[in-house]
């Protein structure tokens, strides 16, 4: 029997300080996430400088906890993996420099992981990936459709041309006067609503897998203005439901179309917005109808975590990918294949 391979993952790309230990790329041994939501709430969003300051306070504690919970010591590990980008540069640098120091002190290889590759590989912790595979990545910073023909191979077939889906959620939440982070609350209001306002869908060109959400966001703002100018008041539930239906329909229809065109064996959803109940339901129903296996990780693995970084990092480690100690934080890092 082969020896078990334990990988340490570290993630600090935004407002979560996270560390995790994953066994053989598929089994979570420990996953610690220290969220800054409580501290960032008062500022109505993530303040990058504050995110960086809080990461410094948490980073060694979180790594220690990941090791303690796993009942492992550094010499049990085979590699240290860390989010290299994209993300907030000052925040990325804390995880990266901690990873470098840890790797050096314990003489372990260091591997820089793309944050989105991490989100995709969160699924590997739930269900084995089968190729070709289509991944829909939806979060506060991303809305992307990626085709994978094998491990470590990524082909971007569609992306947002303006706002990311999660960004649109947060902006609409602000229009509705919901406190940060508002995305999940829009989802809640939409689920409770029995009626919905009809908002436009941005399909773009006929063959395009790209997305656009800024027009929808403007439509919501205009709708509110119009009603208020007439002295009326908008119904928050109905607006939330209408907005959510528009987003979910476009995401679902384009994902189904791509899955058929690329004849994939598996479809996965990933990223913070993949925690959205409305989207999960819609995608699940659509792919059930098509007879294509669809997977979405549990919510704790959709939002930012380090287990997903370790899972992706494990595949990179197996393929011989290594980083060196001059690794920099890369806020705009493109998703590149390593295989």
């Amino acid at each position: 029997m082969e020896k078990d391979q334990y990988i340490l993952g570290i993630e600090t790309s935004c407002d979560e300080t996270a560390a995790s230990i994953v066994k053989n790329g598929t089994e979570i041994i420990s996953s610690i996430v220290s969220s800054q939501i409580q501290q960032q709430k008062q500022f109505g969003g993530v303040v990058p400088e504050i995110a960086s300051r809080l990461h410094v306070e948490q980073i060694t504690l979180v790594i220690q906890e990941a090791l303690n919970e796993a009942k492992l010591v550094p010499s049990d590990l085979v590699a240290v993996t860390v989010t290299e980008g994209p993300g907030l540069v000052g925040a990325l640098l804390i995880g990266i420099n901690a990873a470098k120091a840890f790797a050096f002190a314990n003489q372990l290889p260091l591997i820089g992981v793309h944050h989105i590759a991490g989100h995709v590989y969160a699924n590997q912790l739930i269900h084995e990936m089968e190729f070709p595979l289509l991944a829909l990545i939806v979060s506060g910073g991303h809305t992307e459709l990626v085709v994978m023909k094998s491990h470590g191979s990524f082909e971007l077939i569609g992306e947002t041309r303006d706002d990311a889906a999660g960004e649109a959620y947060d902006k609409v939440a602000r229009v509705l006067g919901l406190p940060y982070p508002g995305g999940p609350q829009v989802d809640q209001l939409a689920l409770m609503s029995d009626e919905s306002i009809d908002f436009p869908r941005a399909w773009l060109e006929k063959d395009s897998y790209d997305f656009s959400f800024s027009g929808l966001k403007s439509a919501v703002i205009n709708y509110k203005h119009n009603i208020e100018q007439k002295g009326g008041k908008i119904n928050h539930d109905h607006v939330a439901a209408g907005f959510q239906q528009s987003v979910v329909e476009v995401l679902t229809v384009k994902t189904v179309k791509a899955a058929k065109e690329y004849d994939v064996k598996q479809v996965i959803a990933a990223g913070g917005v993949a925690a959205n109940q409305g989207l999960r339901k819609s995608l699940t129903a659509a792919f059930e109808k098509e007879g294509i296996p669809f997977y979405v990780p549990p919510i704790s693995l959709c939002t930012d975590n380090a287990a997903m970084i370790a899972a992706a990092g494990y595949e990179m480690w197996k393929s011989g990918v290594r980083s060196d100690s001059s690794m920099n934080g890369r806020p705009g890092m493109p998703l590149k294949s390593w295989n």
Binding site: Q42, F43, V47, E49, I50, S52, R53, V56, E57, I59, T60, L61, I63, Q64, P74, G90, L93, I94, I96, N97, A98, K100, A101, F102, F104, A105, N106, Q107, D324, S325, S326, M327, N328, G329
Partner: protein, 233 residues
């Protein structure tokens, strides 16, 4: 006893290894290179050149700020991670005091200066007392003019140390005249061995997990929030 020292609090970088009061190796660079690219490689290089494995390090000293937010965080993150995982004591020292040590032999006050933009500086004022540096004006973030007014009241010779002093040379001379001395360029280089020497005279090591930089300044977002809070009262 083997010490590792790291100073990335401002744009210069310095890494040193001191063994039994001998500076085995010290690399200081005033080149404006991203610390994330250079800091950890410099630590590794210093260890390799000094023929020291990470586990042979007995104690770590780091410049805790004030200075560049990102710079100081990189040094502190590296230092606290090493100290924690190697289970060795960690000492944080003032970046200003470490810099002021370059002017230790000056007969008068030593004022170390790091630019904080928009005519503001981080500054510390010290006096050499025997082999120790005693703080005269606490490390602070303040308008350069305010610092100079305070120094004028001291009516003593002041040596200004630091690469950023030249940004304010004319205003320093204007306010202090003959009271002011500008350090020669060789004394502007922060030295990680100075951080180690200060750490050696410190009483207590830091609590590694909770150790954070000394920013000496709240963030803009916090300042705005406080302003908003007080205007509601």
């Amino acid at each position: 006893m083997i010490w590792l020292g790291i100073d990335t609090a401002n744009s210069p970088l310095s890494v040193a290894i001191v063994k039994d009061d001998v500076v085995l190796i010290e690399e200081s660079s005033m080149m404006k290179i991203n610390h994330s690219l250079r800091a950890m490689p410099a630590v590794e290089e210093a260890c390799r050149k000094a023929d020291i494995t990470p586990s042979e390090i007995d104690a770590i000293a780091v410049s805790e700020g004030p200075g560049s937010y990102t710079g100081v965080r990189i040094g502190v993150t590296i230092a606290k991670t090493l100290a924690w995982t190697l289970d060795k004591p960690l000492y944080g020292v003032s970046s200003l005091k470490a810099l002021a040590l370059n002017g230790q032999l000056f007969n008068g006050l030593v004022c170390s200066v790091i630019d904080a933009r928009r005519s503001n500086v981080y500054a510390g004022v010290y006096r050499a007392k025997g082999t120790e540096l005693v703080s005269v004006l606490e490390d602070q973030h303040c308008p350069v003019v305010q610092l100079l007014e305070k120094l004028k009241e001291c009516e003593e010779a002041v040596l200004f140390v630091g690469e950023d002093v030249k940004l304010y040379e004319s205003i320093i001379r204007e306010h202090l005249g003959k009271q002011a001395y500008i350090a020669p360029f060789a004394l502007n280089v922060p030295r990680a061995s100075s951080a180690i020497s200060l750490a050696q005279s410190a009483n207590q090591p830091e609590i590694v997990h909770t150790f954070t930089p000394q920013y000496k300044r709240i963030t803009e977002a916090e300042a705005n929030l406080m302003k908003k809070g007080s205007s509601h009262e």
